[in-house]
Each structure stands twice: as C-alpha cells, then as structure tokens.
C-alpha cells in the first residue's frame, strides 16, 4: 500500500494520473492552481497546458473527450463562469471520453472577488456533482468521477473548496499506483451526437432528463453517500468539508454524509429523514441541499445560528450545537489584544507595477482595474484604481465610462496574463466602436499572483517546452490600435510623459509597461539604496510610492510633523523609483 501526504489539489492530480487521464488544461486561479502544477509532474502520461483562459481550457478538454480520451480541467469558482458556455452544451452532447471538471470554490473569499457556490452551476448544467471532504476523498472521488463520466456519458464536477484544496492529509493510493488500463474510445464522426443544431439538440434535451433520473438512482445507491448511525434524536445531513466539522462537534448524532450531491439522492434522504426525530442540514455557503430537501416536503429544523455566509469551522458548529442540544459550554477563549497593527498585502518592494500607478495617481486619471497583484494599486498611498470587476473587465469598463460621458482621463490597467485571458476582445471592441481610452498593460511576462505560471507571453509551456512569446504591442497594433508604445517600468519621467500624452490622445491607445516580476526574477546582484539623513528634509515624497522597504524614521525639523525616511537594505530591490521622486537628492545607491 502506498500512502502519500497530499493536499486536496495534489490528490486530484494523482487521481487524474491513476484514472488514465490523457489531457488536462486549466487557467491558474487560487485555490485551484496546484492541481495542474501537480498534473505536470505526470506530464509523460498526461498532456497538460496552461490555457489562455478557462473557456479555452474547457474547449480543449471537451475536444479531447470527443476524441475519446479521459480529460480534466480545473479552475477557481469564478473561472467556471468564463467556461460555462462550452460546458452548458457539452453536458447535453455528453462526454465520450470521461471528462472531469474541478471547481475550487473559495468560501470566506480568502483570495477572490466573490463567494459563489458552484454546486448551483452543476445542477444548472445537469451534471453529476461530487463533494470531497478531504484529500483521501479528493483522490477517490476524482477517480470515481472519471469512471462515472465515461459510463454515464456526461461530464462530472468535483467541487473543492479552499479548505479541501489547501489542506493536506494522508492519502492511500492503493497497492499499485499507476494508470488504470483505460483504452481510448475510438473516435467516430457523428454529427447527430456532436452538433446540437435544433433538430439534433431537442432529442439531446430529452436524453439529459432521462440521464438525470438515472444518475439520481446512482446517487441513491452510491457508496459516496452513507448513513453514519448515531443518536437518532438528531440527524445531520452534510457534505464536503463541513462533514469534518460535524464529526468533530457532533460525534454522537446520526449523520447522512453526502459525497454525490447532484442529482440529490432523494430516496436515501427520505429514508434518513424518516429515521431521525429532527433533521438539520449543515453545508457551506448556499442552502443547496436544504432547499431541495425542503422542496421534497421533508421537515428541516430552522436553524438560528448563522451558517450561510463565509467559511464554516468547528467554532460555528459549536454554536450550532449549543442551539440544538445545549449540552456544551462556550469555550474558554482569551481574545487577542485589541488594536494590533495589521499586515495587509502590499505590492512588493521593487514591484514593476508601482511606477505606473504612481504616475496614474499623479495624472488624476480615472482607472478601471483588473484581477492580479496589481489590484493592490487601489490602496493608499498609491490610491490609483477606481474599479475591479472580473478578469478582463477593465477595458470594457473604461470604455463604458467614456460612453457614459465621464470626462477627464480614463485608463484601463490590466496585467499581461489577464490581457491574454480576456482583454483582447475588449480592446477590439474599443477599436471597432471608436473609443479613445488608454489601455495600460502591466507586462511582467508571467502570471504572478497565483505563483508564477507561464502564459502566452512567457515563451515556455507547462510541458516545459519553449514556445512563441507573444508580443503585446504587436498584438495591439494588429487589432487596429494605432497608438501603441512600450515603456520601461522604472522610468517615472518617461512613464509620465507617455501616459499624459496617450491619455489625452483623441483615439484609443495601448501603453505596454515592461518590467519583470521582482520575486520571480530573484536577482542576486541587487545594490540597495539608502537615504542620506543629513540631506533628507522629511518631505515624505518617497513614502508616497507605498514601497514596503521605505520606512518612516526619526522626526526632522522642529515642528515634529515631518519624518525622515529609512530604506531597509534587506527589502530594497534597487528599483530606483525612490531616487527619482526625491527632489533633494537624498537617496542614492549604498556605497
């Protein structure tokens, strides 16, 4: 028996390998990113790629499935929004080779802009849905998902959450951890099956309903759903990671542990409900199970303890136990002292995004932002962003503001990976419809926030092969933008000259701001800067850069309101921006 200590994400990748998956595609997004990174360890067996976006990833794995092999895609919850178009129809066409869609949701919004519960999307798309509670189940259920997908000829969703993705546990990989002998199914050209024009789509629609009924019967009999008999005065229905909290806090009651949650196992639920005095549903985020159980006519206790918003945890279930059973005391907790200074995320010292934000703030531009590290440009002292909605939205948002008659300078700020992901179409729209906004592409040639994955500008693939590094300026010109320029990220005067010119230009423009990600680059030849205390007047101009290496030092002058700056040589990356903003020449390289 081989046992490994794996995160939920790693376990999914190991399962893909075990299940004979042949193609995997994804776009990185917390908390899903490590799935494909781990799949890449098995690249001899699985062709894997960082797709340009989730929709393309979905289309690639659908193609592989149609061709007859097992395929997997993985994305964060909001990524699935991008991929829903192909998925909604492929659930009707039906999988040929097994297709598993992993959705990693983010209850608590640890690293996301919303908290949507993608179990709703599985039901909406009429897919079977598995909800693993831990790494072992992530492994077992992903293997089972491939099998079910191929047998039922429908894609299957495995829904992780941040906690299952990023927690690790022991995973029994079985006695013989190597790919199952799954022969690719022969590809057959079959337009009635693969082209859902209305005449072919209507019979598909009917088959989907028949399939859903058959899947419901499977769910009723599935070993992924089980009753754990206990004190029958209380019965708890639970799924996903919430099960582990229920086991900690309610070890004594009867539990219906659901792993296969769509279609809902209604017969099993009726049996369980009939065996307990009171029925309670404990699930993370939306009342996905509870509303369906109530719609079956079963009585569910109206729980007063708030359980709907954000992540569940054992503390919240202890509160529930106090409400339902009243047999536990509130734990003795010494709270942390109040008023401790916080550690909010900041752009790194030397970040190549800093200069552009500094200048945009100075130019008083209205800035629509996008998704990436650079969303941090919104915060003081840079204070240089007005909006952020979703991947690629900056460009359409800026154009909409222009159309609404908002005066002044309007810029869309977007990173290179996000631009490739879904900025291209927005920019094309601006060109076509005669907009005049300026699109600032912060081009560090890598997908930084999720941990430095490659993208079409990086010149290297997830398979480790070199590939064409697409040039954004060339691309913008090809889309029809006439005003395109490229500026270095650390030349503030040039950034200001170019941005001021382009923001005021009467036609659309693209400014590519180039500079590598400082933490990806790991330069070892850095010469840090220092402040000459005798020269520093304490004006604080350098601290307006929001660089974590620049520290407020001792008071300067008699009024006690001005403070000298000190540069932490450990953090300083030698980017030079602070020297450029110092009007008193008090900052220079350390000698």
């Amino acid at each position: 028996m081989s046992t490994e200590f794996l995160s939920g994400n790693e376990a999914v990748a190991y399962a893909a390998y075990r299940a004979g998956c042949r193609v995997a595609a994804a776009y990185p997004g917390t908390p899903s990113t490590e799935i494909l990174e781990t799949v890449a360890r098995f690249k001899d067996a699985i062709d894997c790629e960082w797709a340009v976006n989730e929709k393309v990833a979905m289309e690639v794995v659908i193609g592989a499935s149609i061709a007859g092999v097992r395929a997997l895609t993985a994305m964060k919850h909001v990524g699935l929004n991008v991929a829903m178009d192909p998925l909604m129809t492929y659930t009707w066409i039906g999988a040929h080779g097994g297709l598993v869609v992993v959705s990693a949701d983010d209850p608590g919004m640890h690293s996301s802009q919303n908290e949507q519960d993608n179990r709703n999307l599985a039901r909406f798309a009429r897919m079977a849905l598995f909800e693993p509670a831990d790494s072992q189940e992530a492994y077992d259920m992903t293997v089972a998902a491939f099998e079910l997908s191929e047998r039922s000829q429908a894609p299957v969703m495995v829904r992780l959450t941040t906690r299952t993705s990023h927690s690790a546990g022991l995973v029994d990989l079985g006695d013989d951890f190597r790919p199952l002998a799954v022969a690719p199914k022969p590809y057959r050209k079959d337009i009635r099956r693969n082209i859902p024009v209305p005449a072919f789509g209507r019979p598909m629609r009917q088959r989907v309903e028949e399939r859903t009924a058959a899947l419901r019967a499977e769910a009723d009999a599935s070993p992924l759903n089980r009753i754990e008999d206990g004190d029958r005065r209380l019965g708890i229905v639970t799924s996903g990671v919430a099960y582990t909290y229920v086991k900690e806090v309610f070890p004594d009651v009867s539990i219906l542990k659901l792993g296969f949650t769509n279609p809902l196992p209604t017969a099993l639920l009726r049996r369980f409900a009939g065996s307990v005095d009171r029925l309670v549903v404990v699930e993370e985020l939306d009342p996905f199970l509870e509303e369906q159980i109530r719609a079956m006519g079963l009585a569910v206790v109206d729980v007063q303890t708030p359980l709907r918003l954000f992540e569940l945890n054992p503390m919240r279930l202890l509160a529930l136990r106090r409400e339902l059973l009243g047999d536990v005391a509130a734990p003795a907790i010494t709270p942390a002292p109040a008023g401790l200074p916080t550690r909010p995320p900041v752009l790194c010292a030397g970040c190549s995004h800093r200069g552009a934000f500094y200048v945009l703030h100075k130019l008083k531009a209205t800035v629509t932002g996008d998704i990436g590290c650079y969303t941090l440009g919104a915060f003081a002292p840079l204070d240089a962003m007005d909006t952020t909605v979703c991947m690629g939205a900056s460009i359409g948002n800026a154009f909409g503001m222009e159309k609404a008659g908002l005066g002044g300078r309007i810029a869309a700020v977007i990173g290179d990976s996000t631009f490739f992901h879904s900025g291209l179409t927005g920019l094309l729209d601006v060109v076509y419809n005669r907009g005049r906004i300026t699109v600032v592409v912060l081009d560090n040639r890598i997908t930084a926030m999720t941990g430095h994955q490659g993208n079409p500008g990086s010149g290297v693939t997830l398979m480790g092969e070199s590939s064409e590094a697409t040039d954004i300026a060339t691309l913008a010109r090809t889309l029809g933008v006439r005003r395109v320029c490229t500026v270095g990220a650390y030349d503030l005067a040039e950034l200001e000259r170019v941005l001021a010119t382009e923001l005021d230009a009467p036609e659309p423009s693209v400014v590519v701001v180039r500079g590598p990600c400082v933490i990806a680059e790991r330069r070892r030849d850095v010469v840090p800067y220092a402040v000459d205390v005798a020269t520093c007047v304490g004006c604080g101009a350098c601290r307006k850069l929001g660089c974590p290496a620049i520290v407020r030092g001792d008071p300067v002058g008699a009024d006690g309101r001005r403070f000298a700056s000190v540069i932490d040589p450990e953090l300083c990356s030698g980017c030079d921006l602070c020297r450029q903003v110092c009007r008193f020449n008090a900052i220079a390289k350390r000698s």
Binding site: H166, T334, R343
Partner: protein, 202 residues
C-alpha cells in the same frame, strides 16, 4: 496517544512556516499518526500574516483547529503570537521566537506600533517559552533556517523522537540544504532543552 493534538504555527510570509508545518506533519505521519495540515495562501506574497495548523492523533477529521484548543502555538514573531492568542487552549504552551517583523502599516506611519510589546507578551503569555531562533539561525549564517531552529525547540514537545523529525526533514528538503537545517534543528533543540518545554500528554 488517545486524543488529537493541535499545533498552530504563526508568523509572517517568508519565514518558512509552510515548510516547517510540512515537516511536522510528515514526521507525525512517520510516527504512525493520522494527520491533517491546513494553511491559507492569501493574497500576500510577502509580509502578510501566515498561519498553518497541524493536527495529529488516532483519527483527525477537521483540518481547522477550533479557537481555544491549540495545544502548542509556535510563533515566529511576537506580534503574530499576540494576534492569534485566541487559538490557545487553557494550559497550552507557546513557543515564541524572540523576534519582531515590523508591519508595513507601522513603518509607513499609517498605523501605530504596539507601545509596550514586552509588557503585552508578558501579560498575554506569562508562561511562554521565548526562543532566540532568529538569532541562532543568524549565528549559523542563514537567517532562513529560523524555522528549523523552532522545529528543534518544538521537538521537545512532540510525542516522537527527534530522529523522526530528522527523517522527515531529509525527505522534504533538497539534499544541499539538509546539513544546514540539521544544524539549525540541533541548535534549537539544544537551546530549548533548558527552557522547560513540556512533552505532549495524551
């Protein structure tokens, strides 16, 4: 061991907390325990608060440790120790690195520093074991080995011998870093020997 033991490791991004959590979890597994580890990769690449939790025992369900039930808190920074005080079980132990990373919110002048950090730590952790881990790691010529110095100190508490830790460490680290980290572990274990770390009780 009858019950599940709860370890919370807290500090600041870049201090190697995720690595030491991994080594602890793998060591617990090698010692025959069920184990779960939970951590959150937030938006902060650097400088943000980091927490990792490791639970081990006969059978572990929740990856999250309930507030008020941490048996051992391993803090790499005194401010972070204070921030996570609510995790501690009554009678739990705290191993605190005698070291402060000043938050950017303070260095930039946006938020006030804690006025009397020594006093607060003494008040909220009267029985804490203060480990000069960063100092010891600097003495070894590599401040990044602070995490293994803390691991050495923690090894007095864990209900398995240091050899199990070292096996897990060797399995987890690249070969070229093993010797340094072994020295750091030994330094931490030696420094903490006289500090009265209590061994875990079932």
């Amino acid at each position: 061991m009858e019950r599940v033991l709860n370890v919370s490791l807290v500090g600041v991004g870049g201090q190697g907390i995720l690595l030491i959590s991994d080594v602890l979890a793998q060591a617990a597994a090698r010692a025959g325990h069920d184990v779960k580890k939970s951590e959150i990769h937030g938006m902060a690449q650097r400088g943000g608060s980091v927490i990792s939790q490791v639970r081990f025992g006969p059978r572990v369900f929740s990856p999250i440790i309930a507030d008020g039930t941490t048996d051992v808190l391993v803090a790499f920074d005194r401010l972070e120790a204070l921030r996570w005080r609510h995790l501690m079980a009554p009678g739990g132990q705290a191993l605190i690195n005698r070291h402060d990373v000043i938050p950017v919110s303070v260095t930039s002048g946006q938020q006030a520093a804690v006025e009397d950090l020594d006093g607060l730590v003494a008040r909220f952790y009267p029985e804490a074991i203060m480990v000069p881990a960063t100092e010891l790691a600097q003495g070894l010529g590599q401040v990044r080995a602070t995490n293994m110095v803390m691991a050495g100190a923690l090894s007095h508490w864990t209900p398995f011998p240091p050899a199990v830790w070292l096996d897990a460490l060797r399995a987890r680290l690249p070969a070229k870093l093993v010797a340094l980290n072994e020295r750091a572990f030994a330094a931490g274990r030696e420094a903490a020997a006289a500090l009265g770390v209590r061994r875990a009780t079932a």
